[in-house]
Each structure stands twice: as structure tokens, then as C-alpha cells.
């Protein structure tokens, strides 16, 4: 179903959603840094820049409590976090590279173990995607089979129009419900033309070939060469829309505290450090190899999907300029 909404009415829609008690998460600028964050007013939304962190945190928070414990006499009292308390959320202005990662994450969080923390947030969230009109040379969504107008993952998809306003297309029941609940804000026709989409790199990667090489080259001196400069931080994984590793720790005092789940990254030395002191990924190239393997081989083996949407964030934030697009391209020519 296709509709149109004016710039002004989109703001009205956000205001009404906020007023109705929904959490509206959208790109906004937090002391200079663009981030997806809850809005307290529609005017805070700033769609100019790609947020520094991806939209995954709406479902997979940076850090969340899973339970709290308290020693009472000789017993321990446990209180689980009740997922029913997760707020109903509308995620607005999500770029295609972020939205497309969400169905990819669905696969791993609903596989053998159903992660109720992720799935409950996912169930309660409506995703309003936004066609992408700006890019830089770190972007490579087209390289992994996506585009600035990919609607994958979006319940409702907005395409900006010249002179303001958006074309709205619905792709799920959630999207249709959002439009029908506020139908007075939408109109059927407009004469405005869509804005030109972002320029994308023209070459695409042959992901089959990449995987075929990865299948046979777990041991290869190529890894040493590409990752020797990697300093072992987690910046790439933490800004990635598809990375989903997490750690679980207990924090608090002896008597009471919380069990918490927070983002983790395969680039860290500590990630595979065993209690025995042994570390199977003892050197950085082995850790970096895992990053590439997980994205382009393991995830494909298990879920027939690629764990990368080409948003280019890891390329922009890498302290030492490691460029995943170059690496994938090099592998595809091997």
C-alpha cells in the first residue's frame, strides 16, 4: 500500500505517538554525536547523518539487566526481569543498512534458544525505514546485495520527496496498523518527485566466491597481513548493525546485585580467554579472522545469510583504518 506524508505531519505523528505513551526512537544528536535515541519531542529528530551506532540496540541493548539476586538468610532470592515491562516502541528513520540487519539478527536470536529479551522487544517495535540519500566512500551496501532503497526489515518505509515529505509504503501488518491508526495524517497522492537516492559503489562482491575461499583458508598467511595493525578494540563490533555477541556478568556486592548482559566483541583478547589461562585466539590476526569468518562464512553456513549490510561504520571508526570492504574484495579475487 502506498501513501504520502508531509514533513509536518510526520512530526505530528511522532508527537502523537509520544503522547500515546509509545517510546519513539529516532536519530538525534547527543552532544555532537548522532545516535538512535528516544525522543522527547519530534523536533529532536535529525535525519541528516547516519547515526554512529546502529539501530540494533533497540532490541539488543548495550547493556541490560537479566535478573537481580539477593541473599536472604541461607537462601538466595532471584527476581527475573519481566519482559512485559519492555516499552512499546516505534523506531523511526532507520537507514536501509540498519533495518536490513534486523531480520538477519532475528535468525540467531530465535534459533535453538529463543532469546525472550530480544524477541519481546522485537515484537513490540514497529520499524519505520528511510530511503538513504547520502553516502560516502565507506558505504558498500550495494556490495553485499542491498541498496539505498532496500525495504528489508522495515514495517513502513519512507522515501524522501523533493521539497519535503515522504512516500510511505507498508510491508507488514505492523506498518499497516501504524498508517491506519493515524490515517488522517496521510494523503493518497502527491505531485512531488522522490529525492535522488545515495550514490553507491558500482562493484558488487561475489559473496559465493568469498565464502568458497573462506571455506578452505582458515589457515592462511593472508590473515597475518591484514590484521597485524589491528589494536584489538571493540569499536568495529559495537557500531556494527549485525554483530551480536554478548557477555553476561554479575555486578554488585556479595549480598545483592544484578546479572547483566552487555555487548562483547571478538576483537578483544579477553573474548576467548579461558579460565585455565589458555587463549585459543592468542594473536590478533586469529581474532580478526573470526570477525570475517563469522560474517561471511559461519553465519552463511548456519542461516544462509551474510552478517554484514555494508553500512561502512566499522571502516569509519576503526582506529587503524582497517577496511572490511577492501578485505572482502581481495578475498573475492583470490
Amino acid at each position: 500500500m502506498q501513501n504520502f506524508i508531509s514533513e509536518q505531519n510526520l512530526n505530528v505523528l511522532l508527537e502523537q505517538l509520544i503522547k500515546s505513551g509509545k517510546r519513539v526512537v529516532a536519530p538525534r544528536v547527543n552532544s555532537g554525536t548522532p545516535l538512535y535515541e528516544p525522543l522527547s519531542a519530534s523536533g529532536e529528530m535529525d535525519l541528516k547523518e547516519l547515526p554512529r551506532r546502529s539501530a540494533k540496540e533497540a532490541f539488543f541493548p548495550v547493556c541490560e539487566d537479566i535478573l537481580s539476586y539477593e541473599k536472604v538468610g541461607l537462601n538466595v532470592k532471584l527476581s527475573d526481569v519481566d519482559p512485559a515491562r519492555f516499552p512499546e516502541t516505534v523506531l523511526v528513520g532507520v537507514r536501509p543498512c540498519d533495518a536490513a540487519a534486523i531480520p538477519v539478527l532475528d535468525a540467531v536470536f530465535s534459533w535453538d534458544y529463543k532469546d525472550q529479551f530480544y524477541l519481546e522487544r522485537r515484537r513490540k517495535t514497529t520499524i519505520v525505514g528511510l530511503a538513504c540519500t547520502s553516502s560516502d566512500d565507506a558505504c558498500f551496501c550495494s556490495g553485499v546485495g542491498l541498496s539505498p532503497s532496500t525495504t528489508k526489515g522495515s514495517d513502513l518505509f519512507l522515501t524522501p520527496l523533493e521539497g519535503g515529505g515522504y512516500v510511505c509504503e507498508t510491508y507488514s501488518q505492523k506498518g499497516e496498523d501504524l498508517v491506519s491508526n493515524y490515517k488522517e495524517l496521510f494523503v493518497d497522492t502527491t505531485s512531488a518527485k522522490p529525492l535522488p537516492l545515495a550514490e553507491v559503489r558500482t562493484e558488487t562482491f561475489d559473496l559465493k566466491k568469498v565464502k568458497a575461499w573462506l571455506d578452505n583458508n582458515f589457515e592462511n598467511s593472508y590473515w597475518d597481513g591484514i590484521a597485524i595493525s589491528c589494536v584489538g578494540c571493540g569499536a568495529c563490533a559495537f557500531v556494527c548493525p549485525a554483530c551480536h555477541c554478548f557477555d553476561i556478568v554479575d555486578e554488585g556486592a556479595e549480598k545483592k546485585g544484578q546479572r547483566r548482559k552487555s555487548w562483547d566483541a571478538c576483537g578483544f583478547w579477553k573474548f576467548t580467554h579461558h579460565a585455565s589461562g589458555h587463549n585459543p585466539r592468542d594473536l590478533q590476526p586469529k581474532r580478526y579472522r573470526n570477525r570475517i569468518m563469522h560474517k561471511f562464512k559461519y553465519y552463511d553456513d548456519k542461516f544462509s545469510q551474510t552478517l554484514c549490510t555494508g553500512c561502512g561504520r566499522c571502516i569509519r571508526v576503526c582506529p587503524v583504518g582497517i577496511d572490511i570492504a577492501t578485505i572482502v574484495e581481495e578475498i573475492s579475487h583470490k
Binding site: N30, C63, E251, Q284
Partner: protein, 309 residues
């Protein structure tokens, strides 16, 4: 448009050429086993650290305003998989050289194991998220505005070019420190609270720091867990206080922590504040002279104790 003047980086062509020739020479003569330097990568204007082990790789070395990294980090214990012995060549800007000198003072490196290629530098970018950015008074790294080592000394090789005189740039750190110092404690607390809340504990600040060479960071230990490891405002604040404290009297001011922070937290402000205090208290400054002891592992009997009852 604001009146942001473009800065003169014309010497970088000659510097690049000189680095290539020298790196090829020392590699082919067998003086060093590797040269740590910068090379261009795919993105327009980008540069990344590389370890050149032969003349072909050395011919790709460059120096541009995007050569932001402090390469000293690759010589530390934390990156021990790189320095496998033998003499190593390294391309250093003046600020990076201060870090190397600091590491020598802490017995992490020996001068005779290094072949220093010093870079006359008129400044680098503050952020390389968009590496093709032109170097202007607005995009230059704040550290470069307060730099006193545009022309390094004491190196084995320095290209013979003269750094063009740079316009007087506003010292952003000193101004910002003064602004914060003038606030009330509660106002400062809320400023830092907002900044630290953004932290996601990616530890990029720690990993790029030449002085964070501990093989196991205090903050990675859990027996005892001195600092909460999760990226919540509480643990974040503790982490950044601990980081600043552990670098006090050691930090050489390369500001890599601040540059790499994906959340734009002004981390070098803390380091500069500590440097300022240690200068006032103990007349200590990081410099180009190897000191056996830093200000916090030495003492004088007459040290100030007006704050102690």
C-alpha cells in the same frame, strides 16, 4: 561559510619521498627488519599503519594529514606479536616521539633497538572518519594547535624540509579546561556524566594508547572486580577516572584516545588537565628527554602537603 583557513601541507610530498628513500635504504642494507609507517588505503585520502618488511612495501609509505596514528603503540608489550626482535624502523611525528621517549623511560623500549624516522609535521586531522577532509584551522587535531614539536629532534633520520610557520591557533584544550574549572562541582559532574554515559566500553581509547601496555588491564580483572565491566554510566565513569589516573604523569599527549573514540568523548581533556596539574605541582612535563622516573613514581621530601591534615 566560517573563516576556516586552509593549512599548508605542501611539505608532505617531500616528506613522503624522503621516508620512502630512507626506508628502502635501511631495509635493503639490513639495518632494520621492518619499518612501521603509513600507507594509503582504499578510501580517498586515507592512510593506515603498515609494517613494511621489504623495499617494495617501503615504496608505498606515505605521509599526509591523514597519518594520525601514533605508531609507538606497535612497539609496546601489548602488541608483542609485531616486535619480534631485531632493530625496527618507525615513522614518528613529534608527538609520537614523546610517547616513545616515555616508553624508554619506563624501560619498555631501548633506543638502540629503534631506527627513528622523524617527520617534520605541520599538523594532522582531528578525525579520520572522512579521511579526504582538507586540513584547515577547523579540521586540524586540537593537539596540533598546542604542539611544540612540529620539528622532532634526536632521530636517526629527519627529512630536510622546513615546516612552514603555522598560523597562531587557539589552544582548545586550555580554553576548555579553564571553562570547566570555572564551573561548580555539580556542573562539572553533569558535564562528565553526559559524556561518560555515551561510552560503550569498546576500549578503543585503551587499545591505541602506547602507555596502556599492561598485559592484563585492571579493568579486565574480576578477582577483585575493581571497576564494573558493563557499559553503564556507573562503570563507565569509574573506567575513565581510572584511565586518566593511570596515565597521569605518563601521557605524552598524542590524543589518540580522543581521536579514536567512536562516541566523541573528549578524553584528552582529562589527560591535559592531569598534565597541567603535574606541571604545577611537580614541574613535570612530557618531553624529548628520557627520564628515569616520572612524577608519580618519584617524590621529594618538600612536596606540597597542604591538603593533608
Amino acid at each position: 561559510m566560517n573563516n576556516h583557513a586552509a593549512l599548508d601541507t605542501s611539505i608532505y610530498t617531500a616528506v613522503t619521498e624522503a621516508i620512502r628513500v630512507e626506508a628502502q635504504r635501511i631495509l635493503s642494507e639490513g639495518q632494520v627488519t621492518a619499518v612501521i609507517g603509513y600507507a594509503a588505503s582504499r578510501r580517498k585520502g586515507s592512510a593506515r599503519p603498515v609494517i613494511a618488511t621489504d623495499a617494495v612495501a617501503a615504496d608505498k609509505l606515505i605521509f599526509t594529514a591523514a597519518c594520525v596514528n601514533n605508531l609507538a603503540v606497535y612497539l609496546t608489550k601489548a602488541k608483542k606479536d609485531i616486535h619480534k626482535g631485531g632493530k625496527i624502523g618507525i615513522v614518528v611525528k613529534g608527538c609520537d616521539l614523546k610517547a616513545l621517549i616515555g616508553l624508554m623511560g619506563e624501560s619498555q623500549l631501548k633506543r638502540e633497538d629503534l631506527y627513528l624516522i622523524g617527520v617534520p609535521c605541520s599538523g594532522v586531522l582531528g578525525s579520520t572518519m572522512q579521511p579526504a577532509t582538507e586540513l584547515t584551522t577547523a579540521t586540524i587535531a586540537p593537539k596540533c594547535c598546542e604542539c611544540d614539536v612540529h620539528q622532532p629532534t634526536g632521530c636517526d633520520f629527519i627529512p630536510s624540509v622546513t615546516v612552514p610557520s603555522t598560523p597562531q591557533l587557539e589552544g582548545k584544550y586550555s580554553a576548555e579546561i579553564a571553562r570547566l574549572e570555572a564551573l561548580t562541582p555539580a556542573e562539572r559532574w553533569s558535564y562528565w556524566k553526559e559524556q561518560f554515559a555515551k561510552c560503550i566500553k569498546c576500549y578503543a581509547c585503551r587499545q591505541v594508547c602506547p602507555f596502556c601496555f599492561c598485559e592484563q588491564c585492571l579493568c579486565d580483572r574480576n578477582k577483585p572486580q575493581m571497576v564494573d565491566s558493563t557499559p553503564r554510566p556507573s562503570g563507565n565513569t569509574a573506567w575513565h577516572i581510572v584511565r586518566a589516573m593511570h596515565l597521569a604523569g605518563r601521557c605524552a599527549g598524542c590524543a589518540e584516545c580522543e581521536r579514536v573514540c567512536p562516541m566523541d568523548i573528549p578524553l584528552n581533556l582529562l589527560n591535559r588537565k592531569m598534565a597541567k596539574e603535574l606541571k604545577e605541582l611537580y614541574d613535570y612535563e612530557s618531553g624529548l628527554e628520557v627520564l628515569e622516573k616520572g612524577p608519580l613514581n618519584s617524590f621529594a621530601e618538600k612536596d606540597d602537603q597542604s591538603f593533608i591534615k
